[in-house]
Structures are given as C-alpha cells and as structure tokens.
C-alpha cells in the first residue's frame, strides 16, 4: 500500500512541524490518551522538536498500566487453582502483584501462557478438555469486541472449559474523569486511533460540547501525529472546540457497528477501578449473566480488597499526567525495565518505559 510509507515522509513531517511553529502562540497542554501514541511520539523524537509552548502529556491509555493491583492479584489466585491454564497478553504476565507476578507463578510450576489472540486460548481449551483455560482479558474498546467474538466462537464450537476474566475498560469515561480533575488541566486531546475505529468520533462529542476542548483522532505515523497536533493548535488558537478525525482511513463518525453490537451482546457496562484514577462509574465491561458460563468470575469468585501502590511508585500520578516519570525517585535506579516496580515500567507502552528507553531523545 503505497500511501502507508507516505505517512512517514520526512519532508511532509518537516513542513507540518514548521506549520505548527508558525501557528502556535498560546501555551497548549495536549494529552495523548493512547499508549501506542506515546510510543510513536518517543520513537520519532517528536517531543523535542515541538515548540516549547506545546506540552505533550501521556494519558491512561496503556491497558497493562491501568489494571488495578487487586485485579492482578485476582488473576494470580485463579492461576494458582488446580487444573487451570491461565493465558493473557505478554506484558500482563510481568506486572508484579503483592505476591509476585503471573510469570513468577509460572516459574513455581503454575501453567501460565502468553497468547497473541484470545482465539489461541480457545484453541488451547479445545486441545486440553480436561483443564480449565482462562483468558485474562485486559484492554479497551479495540480489544473487547475480539473477546466477545471469541466467546461466541466458544459457544458455537461447544467448548465449555474456556472462560474469560474480564478487566476491560472504556476510554471516554476515563477522559471525562481527567477533564473533571482540577490537577490535570488539559487544553485538548489526541484521541486514540484504534479505540476510535470501534467507537467512532461520536463517542468524544462530550469533550467539545460539555468541556469546550478540542479533540483530534490521530493515526500512528509521524505525519498523522503532527497533522493532528497542528489541527489542535489551530482550534486552540481560534478558541474553537470540535472533534476532528485525522485518521480518516480507519475511523468514521459512527465506528464499527458490527463490533459494537457484538460487544453489547456479550458485555454490560459496569463501574471499574483504574490504577491512578480510582473508581470510575460506567468505565468497565463485565460479562452479561446470559454468558456466565464463559465468565471466570462465576467459577472463582475471589474478591480481593483494594491494594495500595508499590512503595515509592507514583504510577498513579504519571497516568493522570500530573507527574513525569523522571520525577519518581525510583525511576532508573530501583525501577528499570529489567526489574520494574510499577506497571508503567513493565509495559512497553508505559510512560516510564518510554522515558527510560528514549531518554536520549529528550535531551
């Protein structure tokens, strides 16, 4: 696809950067909600090239980072049950709970496996009918429909030793919580591209109508990100507040209706605890009673009380954009990607991991 490489064109990026510099006069605090945007911004060294009035703040869009510690403990307790095979996406295995991580539990003999897709977990359940295969599902609206489709596939195939431990979260309620937080002070959002593929631009209307802030849905190439920042700058300078789709090759106003319907069929909205942001009403997804057979919580209802952050870790502040990772006393000394203290250093999309890996790009 020819145009893919064109969204990386250095000439176009340079021209956009110049246009940003020409247009930007007022200070502007932009939050990039999505962890993949954080990674792209660091990888291409965009932060250091932007004019000093523009501050880019990383938000809560790293699913591993926002998973509450008690949810991790719950997954660990279920993984320790006899006959269970616990599966999840890579980074989730490494996040330390109070009693170690899933990866450590595996080292002690538990069957914990990394999968690329929930379908791999379903296939494993079909191969191992004597065991109970649990998929620890984290992620946002991008991932939730794939889990819903997998549960439907499990029903279709008559598999009854497969279940999901759902810790799925919804992005717009978290953005609303950040806009209500006096400490955070944002002037606009770079909205997550792939969450928006599913929910559409309509889901962010409240940002402009209720909070009068601009929001631009951005793609992931350097040209996409710079074009989106330019759009935010222009709106901000003109005192406007609109939702714009920059990532037009993937995002529509209404989103992916088929995926939304599947999500609706399997999940219902619930309150959810976010690391750093606390309990946010209507920000999580739980499996509907109709699908209880595939809900890991209906087999193992292991309630874990809230657990405090690891000592000294300020991930919570980092996820709200109130502090930058280097302001954490443990950053780079007691806490590194090799031996992480908090999830923001574990996940390859976490802000602490990005700052650590690309420190050179900031100087």
């Amino acid at each position: 696809m020819k145009h893919m490489t064109e969204f990386r064109q250095p000439d176009l990026s340079r021209a956009l950067m110049e246009a940003i510099k020409r247009s930007c006069h007022k200070p502007l605090r932009i939050m990039e909600v999505c962890g993949s945007h954080t990674m792209a911004i660091f990888r291409h060294g965009l932060k250091s090239l932007l004019p000093p009035q523009i501050e880019l703040i990383s938000g809560p869009g790293c699913p591993v980072c926002v998973t509450a510690p008690q949810e991790i403990e719950q997954a660990i307790s279920i993984a320790a049950q006899p006959g269970v095979i616990m599966t999840s996406f890579g980074d989730m295995l490494k996040v330390p709970g109070t009693s170690g991580s899933l990866a450590e539990l595996r080292a002690q003999g538990a069957d914990v496996r990394l999968v690329y897709s929930p379908l791999d977990a379903l296939a494993l359940a079909q191969e191992r009918p004597q065991q109970k295969v649990v998929f620890y599902g984290i992620g946002f609206e991008t991932t939730a429909p794939t889990i819903a489709a997998t549960i439907l596939a499990a029903k279709h195939a008559g598999v009854d030793n497969f279940s999901v431990l759902s810790a799925h979260k919804l992005i717009p309620p978290a953005m609303e919580a950040l806009l209500d937080d006096a400490e955070v002070r944002l002037d606009g959002f770079l909205c997550p591209g792939h969450v928006s593929v599913i929910i559409g631009a309509q889901a962010y209307e409240f940002v402009s109508s209720t909070y009068h802030k601009p929001a631009v849905i951005a793609g992931f190439e350097p040209v996409d990100i710079l074009d989106s920042i330019l759009r935010l700058v222009k709106q901000h300078e003109a005192g406007q507040a609109r939702v714009e789709i920059q990532y037009q090759r993937a995002v529509t106003q209404e989103g992916n209706i088929k995926a939304q319907q599947l999500m609706q069929e399997v999940f219902e909205v619930t309150d959810a605890a976010w690391r750093g942001l606390g309990l946010i009403p209507g920000s999580g997804l739980k499996i509907r009673p109709k699908w209880a057979k595939y809900d890991a919580r209906s087999y193992w209802d292991i309630a874990i009380p809230p657990i405090p952050e690891p000592k000294g870790c300020i991930c919570g502040q980092v996820l709200r954009g109130v502090n930058k990772p280097p302001e954490c006393k443990l950053f780079g000394s007691a806490c590194t990607p090799e031996s992480p203290v908090g999830p923001c250093m574990v996940s390859s999309e976490g802000s602490c991991a990005a700052y650590y890996k690309y420190q050179g790009n900031l100087l």
Partner: protein, 69 residues
C-alpha cells in the same frame, strides 16, 4: 496494546482470511468486518480484522495534506 497493523488479505474463506505479516502467513477472523475481498487492506488486532482500510480516503487525505503543508 491497541496496536493494529494494516495488511493485505491474500485469501478469504468464509469467516477466515489470510494475511502476510512480515513474511509469515497468518490466519485472521473476519467476524467484525463486512465481507472484505482478496486484495483489500484490513487493520488486524489480536487475530481479528477490525476495519477495512479506505485507500481512496487515504490518498485524498495525503493530497490535501501536501497542499496544506
């Protein structure tokens, strides 16, 4: 983690499609998109195609950008 890779469908059989990512042939489910055809580009996330890329839209956006920048 919400990474989705744009890839070309090289084979389609009902609900299943095949794409080539970095030289590896991978199977993807097509439950979440309206019947894409061979040769179309889809965004793939966690083993599922989640969107059909609108190539005309992409070309048009680029043309517009080049005029603007």
């Amino acid at each position: 983690m919400c990474i989705a890779v744009p890839t070309k469908l090289i084979k389609v059989d009902g609900n299943t499609g095949w794409v080539n990512i970095g030289g590896c042939e991978l199977r993807v489910r097509l439950d979440l998109v309206d019947a894409p055809g061979v040769g179309e580009y889809v965004l793939v996330h966690a083993g599922f195609a989640i969107h059909k890329i609108d190539e005309d839209q992409a070309e048009a956006a680029l043309r517009l950008l080049k005029g603007k920048a």
